[in-house]
Protein backbone atom coordinates (compact mmCIF):
# COMPACT_ATOMS: atom_id res chain seq x y z
CA UNK A 1 0.00 0.00 0.00
CA UNK A 2 2.86 2.31 0.63
CA UNK A 3 4.11 1.63 -2.88
CA UNK A 4 0.94 3.06 -4.32
CA UNK A 5 1.83 6.63 -3.81
CA UNK A 6 5.42 6.63 -2.71
CA UNK A 7 6.41 9.72 -0.79
CA UNK A 8 2.97 10.61 0.35
CA UNK A 9 2.08 7.60 2.39
CA UNK A 10 5.57 7.28 3.75
CA UNK A 11 5.19 10.47 5.69
CA UNK A 12 8.81 10.36 6.66
CA UNK A 13 10.49 13.70 7.21
CA UNK A 14 13.38 12.51 5.08
CA UNK A 15 11.17 12.36 2.05
CA UNK A 16 10.21 15.95 2.49
CA UNK A 17 12.16 17.68 -0.28
CA UNK A 18 10.34 15.51 -2.75
CA UNK A 19 7.18 15.76 -0.73
CA UNK A 20 5.51 18.99 -1.77
CA UNK A 21 5.73 18.45 -5.54
CA UNK A 22 4.68 14.85 -5.17
CA UNK A 23 1.70 15.98 -3.16
CA UNK A 24 0.01 17.54 -6.12
CA UNK A 25 0.24 14.37 -8.12
CA UNK A 26 -1.08 12.25 -5.36
CA UNK A 27 -4.08 10.30 -6.14
CA UNK A 28 -7.41 10.52 -4.50
CA UNK A 29 -7.90 10.91 -0.83
CA UNK A 30 -9.54 7.52 -0.66
CA UNK A 31 -6.12 5.97 -0.55
CA UNK A 32 -5.93 4.08 2.68
CA UNK A 33 -2.92 5.04 4.67
CA UNK A 34 -2.81 2.33 7.26
CA UNK A 35 0.68 3.17 8.32
CA UNK A 36 -0.18 6.67 9.44
CA UNK A 37 -3.39 5.50 11.13
CA UNK A 38 -1.33 3.00 13.06
CA UNK A 39 1.08 5.66 14.10
CA UNK A 40 -1.71 7.92 15.21
CA UNK A 41 -3.43 5.21 17.21
CA UNK A 42 -0.22 4.15 18.87
CA UNK A 43 0.49 7.75 19.74
CA UNK A 44 -3.00 8.12 21.18
CA UNK A 45 -2.59 5.03 23.27
CA UNK A 46 0.65 6.34 24.60
CA UNK A 47 -0.74 9.75 25.51
CA UNK A 48 -3.88 8.23 27.00
CA UNK A 49 -1.83 6.01 29.27
CA UNK A 50 0.49 8.85 30.20
CA UNK A 51 -2.28 11.32 30.91
CA UNK A 52 -3.78 9.21 33.67
CA UNK A 53 -7.18 10.84 33.48
CA UNK A 54 -9.35 9.56 36.28
CA UNK A 55 -12.50 7.78 35.25
CA UNK A 56 -11.59 6.89 31.70
CA UNK A 57 -9.43 4.23 30.14
CA UNK A 58 -9.08 2.48 26.82
CA UNK A 59 -6.93 -0.16 25.29
CA UNK A 60 -6.77 -1.88 21.92
CA UNK A 61 -8.05 -5.39 21.53
CA UNK A 62 -5.42 -8.04 21.45
CA UNK A 63 -5.30 -8.67 17.75
CA UNK A 64 -6.55 -5.46 16.24
CA UNK A 65 -5.42 -1.96 17.06
CA UNK A 66 -8.38 -0.62 15.07
CA UNK A 67 -10.73 -1.91 17.76
CA UNK A 68 -10.45 -0.58 21.27
CA UNK A 69 -12.29 -1.26 24.46
CA UNK A 70 -12.86 1.66 26.73
CA UNK A 71 -14.33 2.22 30.16
CA UNK A 72 -15.99 5.26 31.62
CA UNK A 73 -16.84 5.86 35.23
CA UNK A 74 -19.88 7.93 36.05
CA UNK A 75 -18.82 11.30 37.38
CA UNK A 76 -19.30 12.20 40.99
CA UNK A 77 -22.37 14.16 41.94
CA UNK A 78 -24.29 12.85 38.97
CA UNK A 79 -26.91 10.12 38.88
CA UNK A 80 -24.28 7.91 37.30
CA UNK A 81 -21.88 8.16 40.23
CA UNK A 82 -20.39 4.80 41.09
CA UNK A 83 -21.25 3.19 37.78
CA UNK A 84 -18.83 1.92 35.21
CA UNK A 85 -19.55 1.48 31.51
CA UNK A 86 -17.72 -0.46 28.87
CA UNK A 87 -17.53 0.91 25.39
CA UNK A 88 -16.20 -0.27 22.08
CA UNK A 89 -14.38 2.02 19.71
CA UNK A 90 -13.92 1.00 16.11
CA UNK A 91 -11.60 3.12 14.03
CA UNK A 92 -12.12 3.46 10.29
CA UNK A 93 -9.19 3.19 7.92
CA UNK A 94 -9.36 6.91 7.25
CA UNK A 95 -9.21 7.80 10.91
CA UNK A 96 -8.78 10.51 12.16
CA UNK A 97 -10.39 12.20 9.21
CA UNK A 98 -13.49 10.19 10.00
CA UNK A 99 -14.72 9.57 13.53
CA UNK A 100 -14.54 6.16 15.19
CA UNK A 101 -17.72 4.23 15.83
CA UNK A 102 -18.32 4.30 19.54
CA UNK A 103 -20.91 2.19 21.29
CA UNK A 104 -21.82 1.33 24.84
CA UNK A 105 -21.22 -2.35 25.50
CA UNK A 106 -22.80 -2.01 28.92
CA UNK A 107 -26.42 -1.04 28.96
CA UNK A 108 -26.76 2.61 29.81
CA UNK A 109 -29.99 4.29 30.75
CA UNK A 110 -29.38 7.68 29.24
CA UNK A 111 -31.41 10.05 27.05
CA UNK A 112 -28.77 10.01 24.30
CA UNK A 113 -28.00 6.29 24.31
CA UNK A 114 -30.33 3.81 22.69
CA UNK A 115 -30.98 0.24 23.74
CA UNK A 116 -28.26 -1.01 21.40
CA UNK A 117 -25.70 1.22 22.97
CA UNK A 118 -25.53 3.69 20.09
CA UNK A 119 -24.59 7.16 21.22
CA UNK A 120 -26.03 10.37 19.88
CA UNK A 121 -23.18 12.77 20.27
CA UNK A 122 -22.43 15.49 17.77
CA UNK A 123 -18.66 15.17 17.95
CA UNK A 124 -19.00 11.54 16.88
CA UNK A 125 -20.95 12.62 13.84
CA UNK A 126 -21.11 15.94 12.07
CA UNK A 127 -19.07 17.86 14.64
CA UNK A 128 -16.18 15.46 14.43
CA UNK A 129 -12.76 16.98 14.11
CA UNK A 130 -9.58 15.13 13.36
CA UNK A 131 -8.10 16.93 16.34
CA UNK A 132 -10.22 14.82 18.67
CA UNK A 133 -8.77 11.62 19.98
CA UNK A 134 -9.80 8.69 22.15
CA UNK A 135 -9.16 10.64 25.28
CA UNK A 136 -11.35 13.59 24.31
CA UNK A 137 -14.04 11.23 23.04
CA UNK A 138 -14.18 9.37 26.32
CA UNK A 139 -14.13 12.57 28.33
CA UNK A 140 -16.93 13.95 26.17
CA UNK A 141 -19.03 10.84 26.68
CA UNK A 142 -18.31 11.00 30.39
CA UNK A 143 -19.58 14.55 30.55
CA UNK A 144 -22.51 13.65 28.32
CA UNK A 145 -23.64 11.22 31.00
CA UNK A 146 -24.13 14.03 33.48
CA UNK A 147 -25.36 16.58 30.96
CA UNK A 148 -27.64 14.89 28.45
CA UNK A 149 -29.26 16.63 25.54
CA UNK A 150 -32.88 15.89 26.29
CA UNK A 151 -34.23 17.79 23.31
CA UNK A 152 -33.29 15.10 20.78
CA UNK A 153 -33.30 11.89 22.77
CA UNK A 154 -32.69 8.36 21.60
CA UNK A 155 -34.21 7.07 24.81
CA UNK A 156 -37.38 9.05 25.34
CA UNK A 157 -38.16 7.36 28.64
CA UNK A 158 -34.82 8.43 30.04
CA UNK A 159 -35.30 11.93 28.68
CA UNK A 160 -38.67 12.19 30.34
CA UNK A 161 -37.35 10.97 33.64
CA UNK A 162 -34.27 13.19 33.63
CA UNK A 163 -36.07 16.09 35.33
CA UNK A 164 -36.61 13.90 38.39
CA UNK A 165 -33.08 13.12 39.45
CA UNK A 166 -34.02 10.99 42.43
CA UNK A 167 -36.20 8.70 40.36
CA UNK A 168 -33.60 8.71 37.65
CA UNK A 169 -30.93 7.57 40.06
CA UNK A 170 -33.15 4.73 41.18
CA UNK A 171 -33.68 3.70 37.58
CA UNK A 172 -29.96 3.78 36.87
CA UNK A 173 -29.29 1.55 39.86
CA UNK A 174 -32.05 -0.79 38.87
CA UNK A 175 -30.89 -1.22 35.29
CA UNK A 176 -27.18 -1.13 35.96
CA UNK A 177 -25.31 -4.36 35.49
CA UNK A 178 -21.76 -4.02 36.48
CA UNK A 179 -19.73 -5.08 33.47
CA UNK A 180 -17.64 -8.18 33.82
CA UNK A 181 -14.03 -7.30 34.23
Amino acid sequence: MAAMNGGYSDNTPAADPAGPPAKQNVAPAKTVDTQSVLKRLQSELMSLMMSGDPGISAFPEEDNIFNWKGTIHGSKETVFEGTEYKLSLSFPADYPFKPPKVKFETGCFHPNVDVFGNICLDILQDKWSSAYDVRTILLSIQSLLGEPNTSSPLNTQAAALWSNQEEYRKMVEKLYNKPAA
Binding site: Y8, N11, T12, P13, D16, G19, P20, K23, Q24, V26, P28, A29, S36, K39, R40, Q42, S43, P96, F97, K127, S129, S130, A131
Partner: protein, 298 residues
Protein backbone atom coordinates in the same frame (compact mmCIF):
# COMPACT_ATOMS: atom_id res chain seq x y z
CA UNK B 1 30.88 62.23 17.13
CA UNK B 2 28.05 61.14 14.94
CA UNK B 3 27.66 57.66 16.22
CA UNK B 4 27.98 58.82 19.77
CA UNK B 5 24.67 60.62 19.75
CA UNK B 6 22.80 57.63 18.38
CA UNK B 7 24.18 55.47 21.10
CA UNK B 8 23.25 57.90 23.81
CA UNK B 9 19.71 58.06 22.56
CA UNK B 10 18.99 54.53 23.62
CA UNK B 11 20.44 54.87 27.08
CA UNK B 12 18.55 56.55 29.86
CA UNK B 13 20.76 59.15 31.46
CA UNK B 14 19.60 58.24 34.90
CA UNK B 15 20.83 54.72 34.87
CA UNK B 16 23.98 55.83 33.21
CA UNK B 17 24.81 58.34 35.90
CA UNK B 18 23.67 56.06 38.64
CA UNK B 19 25.77 53.22 37.38
CA UNK B 20 28.80 55.39 36.95
CA UNK B 21 28.74 56.65 40.47
CA UNK B 22 28.25 53.24 41.83
CA UNK B 23 30.91 51.51 39.90
CA UNK B 24 33.41 54.10 38.99
CA UNK B 25 36.23 51.84 39.94
CA UNK B 26 34.95 48.81 38.13
CA UNK B 27 34.13 50.68 35.01
CA UNK B 28 37.65 52.03 34.96
CA UNK B 29 38.90 48.48 34.84
CA UNK B 30 36.38 47.61 32.21
CA UNK B 31 37.48 50.57 30.22
CA UNK B 32 40.99 49.37 30.34
CA UNK B 33 39.95 46.00 28.97
CA UNK B 34 37.97 47.47 26.22
CA UNK B 35 40.67 49.86 25.28
CA UNK B 36 42.96 46.91 24.94
CA UNK B 37 40.47 45.19 22.71
CA UNK B 38 40.06 48.17 20.54
CA UNK B 39 43.76 48.73 20.29
CA UNK B 40 44.04 45.23 18.94
CA UNK B 41 41.52 45.94 16.28
CA UNK B 42 42.78 49.26 15.24
CA UNK B 43 46.25 47.95 15.24
CA UNK B 44 45.47 45.32 12.67
CA UNK B 45 43.63 47.80 10.55
CA UNK B 46 46.47 50.23 10.73
CA UNK B 47 48.86 47.52 9.78
CA UNK B 48 46.76 46.57 6.87
CA UNK B 49 46.20 50.01 5.51
CA UNK B 50 48.73 52.17 7.30
CA UNK B 51 46.61 55.18 6.69
CA UNK B 52 45.27 57.72 9.15
CA UNK B 53 41.98 58.28 7.44
CA UNK B 54 41.23 54.62 7.27
CA UNK B 55 41.62 54.42 10.98
CA UNK B 56 39.46 57.38 11.72
CA UNK B 57 36.57 56.47 9.49
CA UNK B 58 35.34 53.51 11.48
CA UNK B 59 35.04 55.53 14.63
CA UNK B 60 32.79 58.12 13.09
CA UNK B 61 30.93 56.20 10.40
CA UNK B 62 27.97 53.99 11.20
CA UNK B 63 28.61 50.81 9.27
CA UNK B 64 32.23 50.27 10.06
CA UNK B 65 31.80 51.38 13.59
CA UNK B 66 29.33 48.72 14.41
CA UNK B 67 31.56 45.78 13.80
CA UNK B 68 34.32 46.73 16.20
CA UNK B 69 31.84 47.95 18.74
CA UNK B 70 30.17 44.58 18.88
CA UNK B 71 33.46 42.90 19.36
CA UNK B 72 34.25 45.24 22.18
CA UNK B 73 30.91 44.48 23.72
CA UNK B 74 31.59 40.81 23.74
CA UNK B 75 35.02 41.36 25.12
CA UNK B 76 33.57 43.55 27.77
CA UNK B 77 31.22 40.80 28.71
CA UNK B 78 34.09 38.40 29.00
CA UNK B 79 35.99 40.77 31.16
CA UNK B 80 32.96 41.35 33.28
CA UNK B 81 32.84 37.67 34.01
CA UNK B 82 36.32 37.90 35.32
CA UNK B 83 35.44 40.91 37.38
CA UNK B 84 32.39 39.26 38.80
CA UNK B 85 34.16 36.13 39.78
CA UNK B 86 37.27 37.28 41.55
CA UNK B 87 37.63 41.00 41.00
CA UNK B 88 41.24 40.91 39.98
CA UNK B 89 43.60 43.74 39.23
CA UNK B 90 43.86 45.34 35.91
CA UNK B 91 46.92 43.30 34.99
CA UNK B 92 45.07 40.12 35.58
CA UNK B 93 42.19 41.23 33.53
CA UNK B 94 44.36 42.08 30.65
CA UNK B 95 46.01 38.75 31.07
CA UNK B 96 42.71 36.97 30.79
CA UNK B 97 41.93 39.16 27.98
CA UNK B 98 44.97 38.44 25.97
CA UNK B 99 44.29 34.79 26.54
CA UNK B 100 40.99 34.96 24.84
CA UNK B 101 42.50 37.21 22.24
CA UNK B 102 45.13 34.76 21.22
CA UNK B 103 42.73 31.94 20.55
CA UNK B 104 41.22 32.60 17.17
CA UNK B 105 38.23 30.33 17.56
CA UNK B 106 36.92 32.05 20.67
CA UNK B 107 37.26 35.56 19.53
CA UNK B 108 35.26 37.24 16.84
CA UNK B 109 38.01 39.77 16.38
CA UNK B 110 39.99 37.60 14.07
CA UNK B 111 37.12 36.86 11.81
CA UNK B 112 36.39 40.52 11.69
CA UNK B 113 39.72 41.86 10.65
CA UNK B 114 40.77 38.98 8.51
CA UNK B 115 42.91 35.93 8.72
CA UNK B 116 46.17 37.82 8.68
CA UNK B 117 45.26 39.32 11.99
CA UNK B 118 45.78 36.09 13.82
CA UNK B 119 49.50 36.33 13.52
CA UNK B 120 49.67 40.04 14.03
CA UNK B 121 47.54 39.86 17.07
CA UNK B 122 49.91 37.43 18.67
CA UNK B 123 52.87 39.65 18.06
CA UNK B 124 51.28 42.77 19.30
CA UNK B 125 50.10 41.15 22.44
CA UNK B 126 53.56 40.55 23.69
CA UNK B 127 55.37 43.65 22.51
CA UNK B 128 54.06 47.00 21.46
CA UNK B 129 54.79 47.45 17.80
CA UNK B 130 55.02 50.93 16.30
CA UNK B 131 51.78 50.41 14.48
CA UNK B 132 49.99 49.80 17.72
CA UNK B 133 51.17 53.01 19.22
CA UNK B 134 50.05 54.86 16.18
CA UNK B 135 46.64 53.46 16.47
CA UNK B 136 46.48 54.31 20.11
CA UNK B 137 47.55 57.84 19.62
CA UNK B 138 45.19 58.47 16.80
CA UNK B 139 42.13 56.96 18.25
CA UNK B 140 42.26 57.30 21.93
CA UNK B 141 39.93 60.26 22.15
CA UNK B 142 37.67 58.67 19.64
CA UNK B 143 37.47 55.39 21.46
CA UNK B 144 36.89 56.66 24.89
CA UNK B 145 33.32 57.86 24.46
CA UNK B 146 32.40 54.58 22.84
CA UNK B 147 33.82 52.67 25.72
CA UNK B 148 31.94 54.79 28.16
CA UNK B 149 28.80 53.88 26.36
CA UNK B 150 29.67 50.26 26.61
CA UNK B 151 29.96 50.77 30.31
CA UNK B 152 26.65 52.48 30.41
CA UNK B 153 25.08 49.61 28.55
CA UNK B 154 26.53 47.17 30.97
CA UNK B 155 25.43 49.21 33.93
CA UNK B 156 22.01 49.53 32.48
CA UNK B 157 21.65 45.87 31.95
CA UNK B 158 22.56 45.41 35.57
CA UNK B 159 20.11 47.95 36.82
CA UNK B 160 17.40 46.37 34.72
CA UNK B 161 17.98 43.17 36.56
CA UNK B 162 20.00 41.13 34.12
CA UNK B 163 23.20 40.01 35.73
CA UNK B 164 26.31 40.69 33.78
CA UNK B 165 27.38 37.14 34.27
CA UNK B 166 24.24 35.83 32.64
CA UNK B 167 24.49 38.51 30.08
CA UNK B 168 27.88 37.38 28.99
CA UNK B 169 26.79 33.82 28.35
CA UNK B 170 23.68 35.03 26.64
CA UNK B 171 25.78 36.98 24.28
CA UNK B 172 27.83 33.98 23.46
CA UNK B 173 24.73 32.01 22.73
CA UNK B 174 23.34 34.73 20.55
CA UNK B 175 26.45 34.93 18.50
CA UNK B 176 27.19 31.32 18.01
CA UNK B 177 24.86 30.72 15.07
CA UNK B 178 26.33 33.66 13.28
CA UNK B 179 29.85 32.42 13.58
CA UNK B 180 29.29 29.86 10.87
CA UNK B 181 28.81 32.40 8.14
CA UNK B 182 30.56 35.31 9.70
CA UNK B 183 33.14 36.08 7.00
CA UNK B 184 30.65 37.11 4.31
CA UNK B 185 27.82 38.59 6.25
CA UNK B 186 29.50 40.11 9.23
CA UNK B 187 28.88 43.77 8.45
CA UNK B 188 25.15 43.30 8.16
CA UNK B 189 24.89 41.09 11.18
CA UNK B 190 26.92 43.50 13.19
CA UNK B 191 24.56 46.24 12.19
CA UNK B 192 21.56 44.25 13.26
CA UNK B 193 22.99 43.39 16.62
CA UNK B 194 24.77 46.65 17.30
CA UNK B 195 24.57 48.67 20.47
CA UNK B 196 22.11 51.33 19.46
CA UNK B 197 19.36 48.75 19.26
CA UNK B 198 19.36 48.68 23.03
CA UNK B 199 19.66 45.89 25.53
CA UNK B 200 16.07 44.67 25.28
CA UNK B 201 16.14 44.39 21.54
CA UNK B 202 19.47 42.67 21.61
CA UNK B 203 18.11 40.07 23.95
CA UNK B 204 14.95 39.42 22.06
CA UNK B 205 16.71 39.38 18.77
CA UNK B 206 19.56 37.09 19.32
CA UNK B 207 18.55 34.77 22.07
CA UNK B 208 16.54 31.76 20.96
CA UNK B 209 15.45 31.07 24.50
CA UNK B 210 13.77 34.43 24.80
CA UNK B 211 12.20 34.02 21.43
CA UNK B 212 10.73 30.68 22.33
CA UNK B 213 9.20 32.15 25.41
CA UNK B 214 7.55 34.94 23.53
CA UNK B 215 5.95 33.05 20.68
CA UNK B 216 3.18 30.50 21.13
CA UNK B 217 4.36 26.96 21.33
CA UNK B 218 4.52 25.09 18.06
CA UNK B 219 3.94 21.36 18.36
CA UNK B 220 6.78 19.12 17.27
CA UNK B 221 4.51 16.60 15.62
CA UNK B 222 1.36 16.90 13.59
CA UNK B 223 -1.64 16.44 15.91
CA UNK B 224 -3.50 14.62 13.13
CA UNK B 225 -1.04 12.06 11.81
CA UNK B 226 1.53 12.27 14.63
CA UNK B 227 4.40 12.60 12.19
CA UNK B 228 7.13 15.07 13.00
CA UNK B 229 6.62 18.57 11.73
CA UNK B 230 9.50 19.85 9.65
CA UNK B 231 10.37 23.49 9.34
CA UNK B 232 7.93 24.04 6.50
CA UNK B 233 5.13 22.37 8.40
CA UNK B 234 5.74 24.14 11.67
CA UNK B 235 5.71 27.52 9.96
CA UNK B 236 2.56 26.62 8.06
CA UNK B 237 -0.50 28.18 9.62
CA UNK B 238 -3.48 27.57 7.39
CA UNK B 239 -6.04 28.90 9.84
CA UNK B 240 -6.17 32.12 11.87
CA UNK B 241 -7.01 30.07 14.95
CA UNK B 242 -3.40 28.97 15.01
CA UNK B 243 -3.97 25.25 14.72
CA UNK B 244 -0.83 23.61 13.39
CA UNK B 245 -0.88 20.56 11.20
CA UNK B 246 1.31 19.11 8.51
CA UNK B 247 0.87 19.87 4.86
CA UNK B 248 -0.22 16.33 4.08
CA UNK B 249 -3.05 16.38 6.55
CA UNK B 250 -4.04 19.85 5.47
CA UNK B 251 -4.28 18.68 1.89
CA UNK B 252 -6.32 15.70 2.95
CA UNK B 253 -8.74 17.88 4.87
CA UNK B 254 -9.07 20.29 1.98
CA UNK B 255 -10.14 17.37 -0.18
CA UNK B 256 -12.82 16.38 2.28
CA UNK B 257 -14.75 18.79 4.46
CA UNK B 258 -12.14 21.54 4.32
CA UNK B 259 -12.63 22.52 7.94
CA UNK B 260 -9.88 23.37 10.36
CA UNK B 261 -9.62 20.62 12.99
CA UNK B 262 -8.88 23.23 15.61
CA UNK B 263 -11.88 25.51 15.23
CA UNK B 264 -14.10 23.71 12.66
CA UNK B 265 -14.20 26.82 10.53
CA UNK B 266 -13.79 26.30 6.85
CA UNK B 267 -10.30 26.94 5.59
CA UNK B 268 -9.97 30.14 3.67
CA UNK B 269 -8.95 29.59 0.09
CA UNK B 270 -5.82 31.59 0.79
CA UNK B 271 -4.11 30.29 3.89
CA UNK B 272 -2.97 32.80 6.44
CA UNK B 273 0.66 33.55 5.95
CA UNK B 274 2.39 33.92 9.22
CA UNK B 275 5.88 33.24 10.33
CA UNK B 276 5.57 31.18 13.41
CA UNK B 277 8.90 31.01 15.07
CA UNK B 278 11.86 31.76 12.89
CA UNK B 279 12.17 34.92 10.89
CA UNK B 280 14.41 34.94 7.91
CA UNK B 281 14.50 35.13 4.19
CA UNK B 282 14.78 31.45 3.46
CA UNK B 283 11.77 30.59 5.57
CA UNK B 284 9.62 33.18 3.88
CA UNK B 285 10.49 31.69 0.54
CA UNK B 286 9.52 28.25 1.72
CA UNK B 287 6.29 29.57 3.09
CA UNK B 288 5.45 31.21 -0.16
CA UNK B 289 6.01 27.95 -1.95
CA UNK B 290 3.84 25.93 0.36
CA UNK B 291 1.10 28.50 0.27
CA UNK B 292 1.02 28.76 -3.48
CA UNK B 293 0.87 25.02 -3.61
CA UNK B 294 -2.15 24.73 -1.41
CA UNK B 295 -3.93 27.63 -3.02
CA UNK B 296 -3.46 26.20 -6.49
CA UNK B 297 -5.21 23.12 -5.31
CA UNK B 298 -8.19 24.93 -3.94
Amino acid sequence: MVSDSTINASIPNVSKDFGKKKRANRSAKLKQCKLDARREQWLSQVKNKNCKEEVNVPVVGGGKFNGPAIVTWKKAAQCCKVLEVDNPGVEEISHHFSDSESSPSNSPTNALVGASDANQGHNSNSNLSPGRETAEGLNFEGQLPICENVDAQLEKSKSVGVGILGRGSENCKAWRPDDAFRPQSLPNLAKQHSFPTGAERLQGFGNPWVRNNMTPRVPTSCPICCEDLDLTDSSFLPCPCGFHLCLFCHKRILEEDSRCPGCRKEYASEPVEKEASVSGGSLTIRLARSCSMSSSRV
